[in-house]
């Protein structure tokens, strides 16, 4: 009764639905916020960077918008993944279900939100004068790899955060640093050549470059970026799996 593929599928569906609903509850505009938010962000930063600081990037608005959505997916995904176990204390202490499903479903709700943001992005890009090509069909590959990366990280973060609440604060700082470690407001060419390879080893950077390649520059992703993404996902997934498995047994006592 409580096993098998159908059970897992049903549990994941209701939990993801629940997280999705809770996220937009109590707000009048609901889901539209996740579209308005990056747009407002884009307007502000386009003003700051193209008018005040005069960054020379062609097609700055769409270039920036793609980056923002990739970054938003990562930052909100991991931030919410981190608190997913704590926010669902009763699911851990009062009923039994495989605990990783709580994290997985939370990430999935986020994936859904970001997926819709990207869906809304495409017509916007056309309005901004971008000519989309067949390469745009690779976008799901970007989103799925990013989901897996977020899931791997969330497994570690959510289970560690139960015992050490510091991870909440630490991750916030890491994300603030990360904001400047990815080519979001500036271009990769700004990084000195000596550090560039190191800089490009960041899987979030690789995802951002990948997304811009296929949506804006009409070119396939580079092998280098694909390799960085695959190894990044594999690495964080393995760490997440091991950490979670180790911590899982004591979660109910620590909550």
């Amino acid at each position: 009764m409580r096993n098998g593929f159908r059970y897992y599928l049903d549990v994941i569906t209701v939990l993801a639905q629940k997280d999705f609903k809770i996220r937009y509850r109590n707000s009048v505009l609901g889901f539209f916020w996740s579209l308005l938010n990056p747009l407002a962000y884009m307007v502000i930063l386009t003003m700051v960077f193209s008018v005040l600081l005069r960054v020379n990037i062609p097609n700055y608005a769409p270039w920036f918008l793609i980056g923002v959505l990739v970054w938003r997916f990562f930052s909100t995904g991991t931030r919410q993944g981190l608190v997913s176990i704590l926010a669902n204390t009763s699911l851990v202490t009062k009923v039994y279900l495989p605990r990783y499903l709580i994290v997985l479903s939370n990430n999935l709700a986020n994936f859904l939100g970001s997926g819709l943001e990207f869906l809304a992005l495409l017509p916007l890009l056309v309005v901004l004068g971008v000519r989309l090509t067949w390469y745009a069909l690779l976008l799901p590959a970007v989103l799925i790899s990013e989901y897996l990366l977020i899931y791997g990280l969330s497994l570690s973060l959510s289970s560690l955060n139960v015992k050490y609440r510091d991870f909440d604060q630490l991750w916030d700082i890491a994300l603030q640093l990360g904001f400047f470690l990815v080519p979001l407001v500036y271009d990769v060419s700004l990084i000195p050549v000596r550090y560039r390879t190191l800089y490009l080893l960041n899987p979030v950077t690789a995802l951002m470059v990948f997304a811009r390649d296929i949506l804006l520059l009409d070119q396939p992703p580079t092998t280098f970026d694909v390799a960085v993404i695959i190894s990044g996902v594999a690495l964080f997934f393995t760490i997440g799996f091991l950490v979670f498995r180790r911590r899982e047994g004591r979660l109910a006592e620590e909550l």
Binding site: K94, Y96, Y164
Partner: protein, 254 residues
């Protein structure tokens, strides 16, 4: 045939640190002070020791004992939300736990939405659950409040919803932790009637209670826990009598 539920030599230890160190910095400070001779120390608190019993199909067990004697911990182990440090618990069927207040609802979701989430977690198909929501809300007496958020419902109403969902899942084993005491008399009777029906169908109910009459009436067997150990196990008649005798001197002294 194998027993329905078997609990074999179960031990559960909790670590109680002498100094609480909930943050990393404090842990590092603690580790450093080990070098200076002040040890990172904790006490092992044995919440349960040497617990072993069996329950047959259709039988119900009442667990009694003073606060802190390990009743709820034992129920949590049976519900698998915690793992025993030693020993094993085997159940030959699906388990529906009704532990403490609510089965773990989300206060921002409506009664109906919560019913869907928990019914599915307890093993009902999503499609099945959609058909049964009406009868769950009806049993809980919450049809009028189905779209009210849970935070706006009274604690008694929340417990009623929890029971209604758990009952609808048609599990084989029900674990009930005091929760029944929160519902009103009418609802208690309704649940007990349902549980009696279930017993006839060969399901088992384990419940923790301070209501000796209830344990005596409803359960064949009872387990009296004291300080994490099995003080007496036997027919509910004998065990409740022993418990009442044990607390009798306290009344006289008062």
């Amino acid at each position: 045939m194998a027993p329905f539920i078997s609990v074999e030599d179960v031990w559960k230890l909790f670590r109680i640190p002498h100094q609480k160190r909930p943050t990393i910095i404090e842990h590092i400070a603690g580790a450093l002070s080990v070098l200076e001779g002040e040890r990172y120390s904790y006490e092992e608190f044995c919440a349960l020791r040497k617990i072993g019993f069996e329950i047959e199909r259709g039988e119900s067990l009442g667990i009694i004992g003073p606060n802190g004697s390990g009743k709820s911990t034992l129920l949590k182990l049976m519900a698998k939300t915690m793992k025993p440090d030693r020993g094993a618990i085997m159940t030959n069927g699906s388990v529906a736990p009704i532990l403490e207040l609510g089965i773990g609802f989300h206060l921002d979701l409506t009664a109906k939405e919560n019913a869907l989430v928990y019914g599915v977690i307890l093993g009902l198909r999503r499609s099945e659950m959609k058909k049964r929501t009406a009868s769950i809300l009806d049993f809980a007496g919450l049809t009028r409040f189905q779209d009210a958020r849970l935070k706006n419902l009274s604690s008694g109403m929340q417990v009623r919803l929890a029971f209604a969902i758990a009952i609808e899942t048609e599990a084989d084993i029900f674990l009930v932790d005091e929760a029944l005491a929160v519902g009103d008399m009418e609802f208690q009777q309704k649940c007990l009637a349902k549980f009696r029906e279930f017993k006839k169908e060969g399901k088992s109910i384990v419940f923790v209670s301070h209501n000796m009459n209830l344990v005596k009436d409803f359960c064949e067997k009872a387990l009296y826990l004291q300080n994490g150990e099995m003080k007496v196990i036997g027919t509910s008649e004998e065990v409740t009598k022993k418990y009442v005798e044990d607390i009798q001197p306290l009344y006289k002294a008062g």
